[in-house]
Amino acid sequence: MAKICYYAKYSVTFAANFNLLSTQFFTMKQKVLIVDDEPDILMTLDFLMRKAGYEVFIGRDGAEAIELVKEHSPNLVILDIMMPNVDGYEVCQFIKQTADYRHSKVIFLSAKGKEVDIARGYAVGADFYMPKPFSSRDLVKKVKEMLA
């Protein structure tokens, strides 16, 4: 049963957001949006960011990510690239081209590890590009650095 609960948390965004919204009011934590279509990755990132002391928002695809950016204006976005419908590049482009959200840092976290993919990532305005499989320690270090 525990397994199913865990999955529900990362699969059904609404529930997760509702859960987090309730705590937002009391704290002034920095906001981190994590976007990926793999539940396992989301689970991992959620754990890492929570432990690092950030407020975490979870998006399962690009469209959802854009909605969440508009709603919460996060300080940092960890973005996967290959996702259904709207991909990571487009999400990044949206963030960096909209004045209200331009301040948000963007870290691409992708299995696409080719030179061209990385170059394109920076071209659309990413602040950092980390290929999968990534080191959790490096990621946390990088996020802390960027939000310091």
Partner: protein
């Protein structure tokens, strides 16, 4: 009927021929030569003369079916025309040759003496043939008269048979003179003559068929009636059988003889070679001419038998056709028969005299005139014409004389065969000339002289003896009492008919001497040159004109003056202007003429005086240098080489081009393969990255953080295990596919029970289906046979198909069905689901490796993306196929077929 009517009919018929000739020529002048293949083929039927028309019946009546040999020979050689005649036609066209004497002279070193010899022999040999035409006309005319007069006047008329024949000889001579010598040029096709002959061929065939039909069906009651009646008549019965043991020898000789005569008789050469306007006409002639021979012989036996039955043996069988119709009192049919015979005779006479007169004037008289260095200063075309006129008159004179003295005593066929034998003497040197390069001039002389010598001795001499011109003892005891040299039984060989024996010996000596002497003598340079050209004509004909072998000095002015002498001012100007325009030269200059101009002049001359005389004229006027054999060959080969190397170069370029193209194609393919390999590698590593990411990150977390809740920790570890399994599966599948594709992994063939593999596959998938609450159903046709296959691999395929189906089914109300049946020696398994289905555009590529990953580029693949690729490979290795059905109402339908009749050996 008054005698004058028949004579007038004959004159009227000749006038009709004039008319046809004139109309045909006028049309040809307007529209250009337009001899059709049919007209050409019909003109060849000039082969059928009065001999065929009257003589065959006589021969049949006396010797039975032997008459047929004369027509079987040409029929048998007709297919060879494509080889022999086509070659001769091409040679004549290239070398401007206008008759067979010219042909032989040209082949054996352009030797005028040889040409003259052939011409004289031909005249002597063919004279008897012309004389029997006169005889046939006279006899038929006489037969008509005899039946129309009372007995006493018939007696009077008998005394004037010679008179009648003289009238006819003169009439025909005048006609031939007028018909044959209207224009001096001889290479231009004589359209009028060909059309006239074609017309005559139709007349004689129609006449023969009508008269034959009349006798067979009106006088008698059809073929059955005639042959039936003949059975009771011993003499007639013998006709239908081979009479004696040597009949086969006779047949052989006659078939051989006629096969050669049909090509080398001067008139046949004239119509078949000189008048040929298109080599392709031979195609039609090859079947139409034999057909004509068949038709014209259909009624020969019935008429011959009918004549014997009705009239007995007292009447000359040659005239049965007339005698029977007159006996029955049907004059109209009799006149038709007369007309048919008349047309057969006139056709032969027209063509034969034209051909022989050309030979006589071009090869005998003209060379003498030219060599005597007394070339008249005025127009020589007129001289050439006069020579031909003289030749024609001389021919008729000799023929009539021969008829008067000799032919009167013989039947048509026996005289005709003498001429055939004469024509056949040319066969060895002509056929040898175009297929054998070694034949020499001296060999040709030797063969010709010995052949004609034996011919004259064994065939002509006996007829002269019988005509009481020579002592009788020569025939009975041999000359000087030497019986071994008896003309009718040479070497004392008896028991074979003298005629056939004579033919055999003459040809035997001819061939023997020709080959023997050729082998021991050497060719002169010009002979060698001509031999090369004749034998390899198809190789040289294209380049001949551009590679004239000639070295010497002459000015253009000289050449022009020479041509004016022969062709006349007007004609010369006309020809030279055209040539000058084409090659940009001025004929009035005192400039050196190049070899092409000289050759052009010689060709033009040849059309008037024949190639031999033309050669003499040109070489007498122009200072010619001696050319060695080597030079000649070198000159010819140079042009030849140029042509060949050009072609070779072209072929090589094309080949190179092909190779380049092929290389480019391979390169593109290799590049594609390379890209595919790269993509595969990239996709594999990419697919590995995803599980690895989770494993790495989660392991680090577990290591780094101690304060993890128990549930969370367990979940992390479960995920690590799950992802590790996913990686393992992927790696296994990649290796599987690689092994199958490289052929490293072979199928493990064994007898497979279809139900077994389906059960095993269902077992594997059942768990998954249960979890997702998908209903799995199976239909298996009863009594499915065992078949050879790899059990494990096939289970793998089914598991893949079934698990895919379950995976894409909606949860809770999913349906998956598997059906197995045997159709046309194929095991067919169909897997149907009610899932999301496969978009049409992906159906083709869904079996590609990782295609799933590529098509859903922006999302994570559901599964390894290799399952279908592996399945397809396995099915391929079983010799089967797998595909997605087009028209699934919903969900997807996968069908796989595996042949079960075939034992697959991996």
């Amino acid at each position: 009927m008054p005698w004058g009517f028949t004579f007038l009919l004959s004159v009227f018929y000749l006038l009709l021929l004039f008319g046809i000739a004139i109309i045909a020529e006028r049309r040809a002048n307007k529209k250009g030569s337009n001899i059709s293949a049919s007209a050409y083929s019909l003109s060849l039927a000039v082969y059928c003369t009065a001999w065929t028309f009257y003589g065959s019946i006589g021969r049949a009546a006396n010797s039975g079916i032997e008459f047929l040999a004369i027509y079987i020979g040409p029929t048998l050689v007709a297919p060879l025309w494509w080889v022999i005649m086509r070659k001769i036609i091409r040679i004549c066209r290239v070398q401007n040759i206008t008759n067979i004497a010219d042909f032989i002279a040209a082949r054996y070193g352009k030797n005028a003496t040889l040409g003259a010899l052939v011409a004289i022999f031909m005249v002597l040999g063919i004279v008897p043939y012309i004389s029997i035409q006169i005889k046939a006309i006279t006899d038929s005319y006489y037969t008509l008269l005899q039946n129309n007069q009372k007995a006493d006047t018939a007696y009077l008329l008998r005394g004037s048979v010679e008179g009648i024949s003289l009238y006819f000889a003169c009439l025909l001579a005048v006609f031939s003179l007028w018909f044959g010598t209207r224009t001096p040029q001889t290479t231009r096709h004589n359209v009028g003559m060909v059309m006239t002959i074609a017309f005559e061929s139709i007349i004689k065939l129609v006449a023969f068929l009508v008269v034959g039909g009349y006798i067979t069906y009106s006088v008698f009651d059809g073929f059955g009636d005639i042959f039936g009646q003949a059975q009771h008549y011993t003499a007639a019965k013998d006709m239908l059988l081979m009479s004696s043991s040597h009949a086969y020898f006779n047949w052989f000789i006659l078939v051989l003889l006629s096969g050669m005569a049909v090509m080398f008789l001067p008139r046949q050469f004239q119509v078949a070679v000189v008048e040929n306007t298109d080599e392709k006409h031979l195609d039609k002639a090859i079947w139409l001419f034999p057909l004509y021979l068949l038709l014209i012989n259909i009624f020969v036996l019935p008429i011959a038998l009918g004549g014997k039955l009705l009239l007995g043996s007292n009447i000359n069988a040659d005239n049965y056709m007339l005698s029977i119709t007159l006996y029955k009192g049907n004059y109209w049919v009799a006149y038709l028969a007369y007309l048919g015979g008349f047309s057969a005779a006139t056709g032969m006479i027209i063509v034969e005299t034209i051909a022989l007169s050309l030979m006589l004037s071009n090869n005998v008289l003209m060379p003498i005139l030219v060599k005597s260095n007394r070339i008249p200063d005025h127009y020589l075309g007129g001289v050439a014409l006069n020579m031909r006129r003289i030749s024609i008159l001389a021919l008729f004179a000799i023929s009539y004389l021969y008829y008067y003295v000799v032919a009167n005593h013989y039947s048509l066929v026996s005289i005709g065969l003498i001429s055939f034998a004469a024509a056949a003497q040319l066969a060895p040197i002509v056929i040898g000339g175009i297929f054998w390069k070694r034949g020499t001039q001296i060999g040709a002389f030797g063969g010709l002289l010995s052949g004609f010598g034996v011919w004259a001795y064994t065939l002509v001499l006996p007829t002269l003896v019988n005509a009481k011109l020579l002592p009788q003892t020569w025939l009975s005891d041999g000359i000087g009492g030497l019986s071994i040299f008896k003309p009718t039984a040479l070497w004392g060989v008896s028991g074979i008919d003298s005629l056939e024996q004579a033919i055999f010996w003459s040809l035997f000596f001819n061939v023997f001497v020709y080959i023997g002497v050729s082998l021991v003598t050497r060719q002169k340079s010009i002979e060698h040159n001509q031999a090369e050209l004749f034998v390899d004509i198809f190789k040289y004909s294209d380049i001949y004109e551009s590679a004239v072998v000639w070295k010497g000095t002459a000015t253009l002015r000289d050449i022009k003056d020479m041509l004016v002498n022969f062709l006349g001012q007007q004609k010369t100007e006309e020809l030279l202007t055209k040539y000058a325009e084409r090659y940009q030269i001025d004929w009035n200059e005192n400039e050196q003429a190049d070899s092409r101009s000289v050759a052009f002049a010689e060709t033009q001359l040849a059309s008037i005086v024949g190639s031999t005389s033309a050669r003499i004229v040109v070489s007498s006027l122009i200072e010619e240098e001696h050319i060695s054999v080597d030079e000649v060959v070198a000159m010819l080969q140079e042009s030849q080489q140029l042509l060949i190397s050009n072609q070779e170069l072209k072929a090589q370029t094309e080949e190179l081009f092909d190779v380049t193209e092929e290389l480019q194609r391979i390169n593109v393919k290799l590049k594609e393969k390379d890209i595919q390999k790269d993509e595969f590698l990239y996709t594999v590593t990419h697919e590995l990255r995803t599980p690895l990411t989770s494993i790495r990150a989660l392991s680090e977390i577990l290591y780094d953080y101690d304060d993890i809740e128990r549930d969370e920790r367990r979940h992390f570890i479960a995920t690590i295990i799950k992802e590790a399994e996913r990686m393992t599966r992927l790696i296994t599948q990649v290796l599987d596919l690689e092994k199958l594709e490289s052929g490293a992994e072979k199928l493990q063939m064994s007898e497979v029970e279809i139900v077994d593999i389906i059960d095993d596959a269902i077992d594997v998938v059942q768990q998954l289906a249960n979890e997702k609450k998908v209903a799995l159903s199976v239909n298996i046709a009863p009594f499915l046979p065992l078949f050879m296959g790899d059990k494990d691999k096939l289970i793998q395929v089914l598991v893949n198909l079934l698990s895919n189906a379950v995976k894409f089914c909606p949860a809770d109300n999913g349906l998956v069905n598997l059906t197995a049946l045997v159709k046309e020696k194929m095991l067919e398994i169909v897997v149907i689901d009610n899932g999301t289905g496969i978009p049409k555009e992906y159906k083709e590529r869904i079996f590609d490796k990782f295609y799933q990953a590529q098509m859903l580029n922006k999302s994570k693949p559901n599964g390894s993306g290799l399952g279908l690729a592996i399945s397809k490979k396995i099915v391929d290795l079983h010799g089967g196929k797998i595909w997605v059905e087009d028209n699934a109402p919903q969900g997807a339908i996968f069908t796989l077929q595996i042949p079960i009749a075939r034992l697959i050996v991996p």
